[in-house]
Symmetry: C2
Subunit: 288 residues, 2 copies
């Protein structure tokens, strides 16, 4: 099961999921002059970051929206980035948040678990129900693939639906969390977690402790560290016995070079430093 | 407002939204031999269908999953298909069902309302809340773009969340429908509908009549005709005074040629016939 690979990588390298949400404006001017083609600039920037951070992060999350924004060239950079992550033996999470049913979902599964855009994990959106998840399950069972399904996010709009109260007093995210965890029981790894994980945003300590307890078989993809405001102590609540989740940071790492005078010349080095600080920050918070 | 353009096109050409969910297996063998490159085969098949149906359908819905499934080449066919629909002056709905927030949603908006993948309408997923819709609104207001947000679908899995009862006795889809319609009030066209529409699957007559009444400012994208089992009389319930929605059919039209001995030689002609039958079928049902 792919989840065992992610679990053991975290044991060895810590909890950082480096988000390659690479906007063209994040790339230093000198680098854009060196790589005038946008697909090459995006890929080479990612490659430089990956080369510097391989031993310091657990996995890479590639946010496809940042590549779709640049059309076919952007998606060529997306393809090359995922292929490179695979070449260097790292784990990839394709943050695609797709959500559709039957034949359409089969096509998404084929598109992101095979071919040009092959990744290890995808993120999915559960709005249409469990039959929008099922077409991916054969890959989980037989092809060493996994997924993180949106459960509860930390954006203000989460109040519009995710936090809405149901007749049985639970909230929408409780219902989705339970359904996804139950589905995941058929795809458990030896590490005690399922290859069907959940996206759980970092909010307050009470909610975090409760979710960690109720969804104790679910591996968490936790966005919202750093740039989005989450701190290590908040994140630690979602990590059971020091594992059970990866913590994503994108801009906080990709743009670390901007905090240093002349940092753009060594942007990858500063990304590495930021990733290591984040990794150790989380490890310290867990030990407490 | 783009919705006025769609409304008047329906007045002139009927309610058919032709779904270009083009799987490679739908394309006749002789055509694949004529166009051995997959991107050319997918695009030329779509082009042949578009050329034959332009005067018989209101718009074309391109399901991006079918193109993502074939990677970069598939997306090149997707790009060429959308560009061709624009060239011939027809309206396109990009069925992408994206759902993400802030900067990420801005990138999706840029990716699908500009550049290689520019379309007239996108479909969106509301799970993460209204801030996953807002980044698209500037395009609606200033760039003649529109959207259809998932409200209620007709797949079995719709019971998992969309139909779940809330504390106030409404269902999730009622809540989402109301929120999306309220948001849409700021983007009303002269036709009496908003450029922010909803995806509403075709279910039973009672539900349909109630939704049409409650969401009377919302333009509907109605999937589920034909192949997915919906009939004209069921669809008519969702069309207020004969307009207010487009009805999607994909396989029922694309694969019409398979019902005819030797039909593959004139697949586009049989697609045209199927589209016209569907159009007239719906118009008759409305008159009743």
């Amino acid at each position: 099961m792919i989840i065992d690979k992610l679990y053991s990588t975290i044991e060895a390298k810590g909890h950082v999921c480096l988000g390659l949400d690479t906007d063209i404006t994040y790339i230093p001017k000198w680098f854009l002059e060196k790589y005038p083609e946008i697909d090459e600039a995006l890929f080479q920037f990612n490659k430089a970051i990956i080369d510097e951070t391989l031993d310091a992060v657990a996995c890479y999350k590639v946010q496809i929206a940042y590549y779709e924004a640049y059309g076919l060239k952007g998606l060529n950079a997306y393809h090359k980035t995922l292929r490179y992550i695979k070449e260097v033996g790292a784990l990839s999470i394709a943050d695609i948040k797709r959500g559709d049913i039957s034949k359409t979902a089969e096509m998404y599964a084929k598109g992101h678990f095979e071919g040009d855009f092959e990744c290890d994990f995808v993120t999915l959106n559960p709005y249409m129900g469990l039959d929008s998840i099922e077409p991916y399950l054969d890959y989980v069972k037989n092809k060493e693939k996994g997924m993180f399904v949106l459960v509860r996010t930390s954006n203000p709009g989460a109040q519009d639906l995710e936090y809405v109260e149901l007749k049985d007093d639970r909230r929408v995210y409780d219902l989705i969390g339970e359904k996804i965890q139950n589905l995941g029981l058929n795809y458990m790894g030896e590490c005690g977690y399922s290859s069907i994980g959940g996206v759980v945003g970092c909010t307050n300590v009470n909610e975090g402790a409760l979710m960690r307890e109720e969804l104790n078989k679910m591996f968490f993809l936790i966005p919202g560290y750093g740039a989005q405001g989450g701190a290590a102590k908040d994140v630690a609540v979602y990590l059971k016995n020091g594992n059970g989740g990866v913590v994503n940071s994108s801009r906080g790492i990709l743009l670390a070079y901007k905090k240093v005078e002349g940092g753009e010349l060594n942007f990858a080095k500063y990304a590495r430093e930021a990733a290591i600080i984040m990794r150790d920050d989380i490890l310290k918070a867990i030990e407490k």
